[in-house]
Amino acid sequence: MSEIQIVGLAKRFADVWAVRDASFAVDAGAFVTLLGPSGCGKTTTLRLIAGFETPDRGDILLGGRRINEVPPWRRGLGVVFQSYALFPFMTVYNNVAFGLRRQGLGEAAISTRVGAALDLVNLPGLERRYPRQLSGGQQQRVALARALVIEPRVLLLDEPLSNLDAKLRAEMRDELKRIQRETGVTTVLVTHDQDEALTLSNTIVVMRDGAIVATGSPRAIWNRPGKRFVADFLGVDNLLPARRADGGRIRFEGGGPALEVEGGGAATGEGRIVVGIRARDIELGPTPAGAPVQNEIDGNVRESIYRGSFFTCRVTTDAGPLSVTTPLDLAPGAAVRLRLPRERIMLLEDDAAGPG
């Protein structure tokens, strides 16, 4: 049973469609991430679900009931904002208690639940502090406690980690995972960070220019991005134009040998094809004697960049330039042989121009 269902949702600001014809569903207890670059409509979609914006078209269903006209204060959804939006003139206690006071609970019950919520986010003992006396990470936890304490039907998170530094972000990401698991609350996260999306979600919805371009599990999105844009956004290093050749093989537009591929790509239709392969999936070795066999390409190292535990090599080949990671410290000009494993090659639909 879907807790949230979005059907043909569209929202226009002036003459720009911020969201166009978006549809997806969130199962009860699931963690769904809206992933995309800034301006892709993911935050607008979240604000539409929360009720801060009114859709121009389409429906929002909560537990099967249409809630388009229900004002935000009657939706019972918890929201955590990128800026946290804590009430600056209230103590931590009063911030967290705010939603419970609206429900008309007694002070004893409020006190118990505020305490439990602050325990849940690992922030006891700071009840009497004001938000400006807290660090960014602590403010984040208060915002989370304030949203969770009302036991919302759905928790909406708008880029909640993007104002934290890298170390804290990783820590809070794991915290978020734990808290979601402990509470089992249905969650919709908006982020532009693929790591957050991959680690936290059951389902990732990739958005671009207001439209949904891919929906799937983290594994599916990672292994079969399907479209050039999605692959690029997920950091697939090598994206080269190609065309279909005989025998189910493909040939790069730039030249080089025909490559064998297997179900790695869902690209069909008339569009041009793009071949994608991650730098870490290409195998690199010194050029041995003898001609390259199937799915092998010879090339020369153009540059080698030290990355700590590995090197990123830019290799010039007949097919075009390819990025490859390797533990080998190779000098520029070194001759190398690359193997592109057939199961790692992704066939992608070329959607470079974007929709509409």
């Binding site: 604000r47 929360a50 009720g51 801060f52 004002p71 935000p72 204060w73 009657r74 939706r75 019972g76 959804l77 918890g78 929201v79 904002f81 800026s83 946290y84 939006a85 804590l86 009430f87 600056p88 003139f89 209230m90 103590t91 009063n94 705010f98 939603g99 609206r102 429900q103 004001y130 304030r146 949203a147 009302i150 909406l156």
Partner: protein, 285 residues
């Protein structure tokens, strides 16, 4: 060393304040308890005669109450008009915010004379409003608006509204844009959001604006002088008459002393309300 430099840096402004504000204020206070030109024989320094004669005269008592009345009206109207206006401006896009801000600040750029003349054109016996109302047959005789308390309130509001708007805007800028959305998601309907979140969050700016507008309204001179005429004297215009028409500087100084007390009382009251009010709402300055 590092602690001493900031103090040294305040010396220039400190000297200016001492020479141009504190010393003259003390001078006014001393002058107000000195026997004036109309003093009875036997009066000696210090005397309360100047103050007593002010409160004994019906005209000056009226001017005092009128000053308070007009200042309170101007302050209340500035809050009523300035608060929504500040919110409206804060929610506009960058371009329109600059345009609206320029419009709000515009009265500052006009001289008091030009502003007063403008209001004469609007409010006069044959002004825009009267011509329109008489022409439309709504009223038979032109309304007397110019040289009334109404004209003074309008003129001062026009001048002082920017202080209120700017004071509230400055606190609004420091407030998270999603504060009301956060409150709504927690079950607060718009009235709750306003009284429990937005109002307390903007209270510091509102109090600053109130202080500025009220104290500037009680001490305004040019606007009530030009728009109120001689029919509706305020303390400031009366002070002017004593100082430059009848040359009774002692009595003028006593009126100045009363204005000083009014101002100081309001500042203290304002601080007391500010702390108490914010504490009641679970806030702090």
């Amino acid at each position: 060393m590092a602690r001493r430099v900031p103090w040294a840096l305040t010396a220039p402004v400190g000297l200016v304040m001492l020479g141009l504000v504190i010393v003259p204020c003390l001078g006014v206070v001393l002058l107000s308890v000195t026997p004036g030109p109309n003093a009875q024989p036997g009066e000696a320094f210090p005397t309360w005669e100047n103050y007593r004669s002010i409160f004994e005269s019906r005209a000056t008592r009226q001017a005092l109450f009128r000053t308070l009345e007009i200042s309170v009206w101007v302050t209340l109207l500035a809050i009523a008009a300035g608060y929504p206006l500040a919110f409206f401006i804060a929610r506009q896009a960058q371009f329109w915010r600059s345009v609206l801000l320029a419009v709000v600040i515009f009265p500052f750029l006009l001289s008091a004379v030009v502003r007063a003349y403008g209001w004469n054109v609007v409010l006069g016996e044959r002004g825009i409003i009267n011509n329109a109302l008489v022409g439309a047959g709504v009223i038979g005789q032109p309304l007397t608006m110019i040289h009334t308390e109404f004209a003074i309130v309008v003129g001062e509001l026009h001048l002082l509204l920017p202080y209120m708007v700017l004071a509230i805007l400055s606190t609004l800028r420091g407030i998270d844009r999603n504060l009301d959305a956060a409150a709504q998601s927690l079950g607060a309907s718009p009235p709750w959001v306003f009284f429990r979140v937005l109002l307390p969050a903007t209270l510091p700016g509102l109090l600053t604006g109130t202080l500025l507008v009220y104290s500037l309204a009680t001490t305004a001179f040019a606007t009530p002088f030009l728009l109120g005429g001689t029919r509706t004297p305020l303390l400031t215009t009366l002070l002017y008459r004593h100082a430059f028409v009848s040359f009774d500087w002692a009595k003028a100084a006593a009126i100045g002393g009363i204005l000083l007390i009014l101002g100081a009382t309001f500042v203290l009251l304002h601080r007391w309300v500010g702390r108490g009010g914010l504490n009641r709402l679970g806030a702090e300055m």
